[in-house]
Subunit: 100 residues, 2 copies
């Protein structure tokens, strides 16, 4: 399986989670037309009021890397950066399951 | 949105990750026919040789709770338990995105 999964935990600056989440939903909207992106789900933590988890599933690692060079994506990352206090990316390898 | 998401990190006993992963894939297989389960993806960590991440997306919390009462599921959990050294469940609330 060559699929590429990224689980990222983003910590928003205090009080900025909602604003950051809206930007991520906007990013997801922009990915609707990209067939290489299979999932881009934005979750908020029920336990940490500043944490957001983004689940990404891509056709492969190249497709993910290419997406980071997209101009709209770069602009959105620039815009989101001041709202982000920390990032914990999780490198995972999907091996199967329902919906994959 | 009433959907229910669970991200669970399972730590296998040393050397038992592959065996545990196969059991989880079997669980996912059993969920193929359950329309209330939208995703059940099994991932292995690229960073921790004992870690498995399971991403579950359910129609709602009740659907998830009901699944835990299923006889086959209970049997599988019993079988998997000796292979598991630790569990870190993550309670998240999906708010939107592609594929949701």
């Amino acid at each position: 399986m060559t699929k590429f999964t990224m689980y990222g935990k983003l910590i928003a600056q205090p009080g900025k989670r909602e604003e950051l989440a809206q930007m991520l939903l906007q990013a997801a909207e922009g990915l609707q037309s990209n067939p290489n992106c299979e999932l881009y789900i934005v979750n908020v933590s029920e336990e940490d009021p500043d944490a957001i988890w983004v689940t990404e599933l891509w056709r492969d690692a190249d497709a993910h890397a290419a997406s980071l060079k997209d101009e709209q994506t770069i602009a959105l990352i620039q815009q989101a950066r001041p709202l982000i206090a920390g990032v914990e990316p999780m490198r995972l390898r999907p091996i199967g399951g329902k919906g994959l």
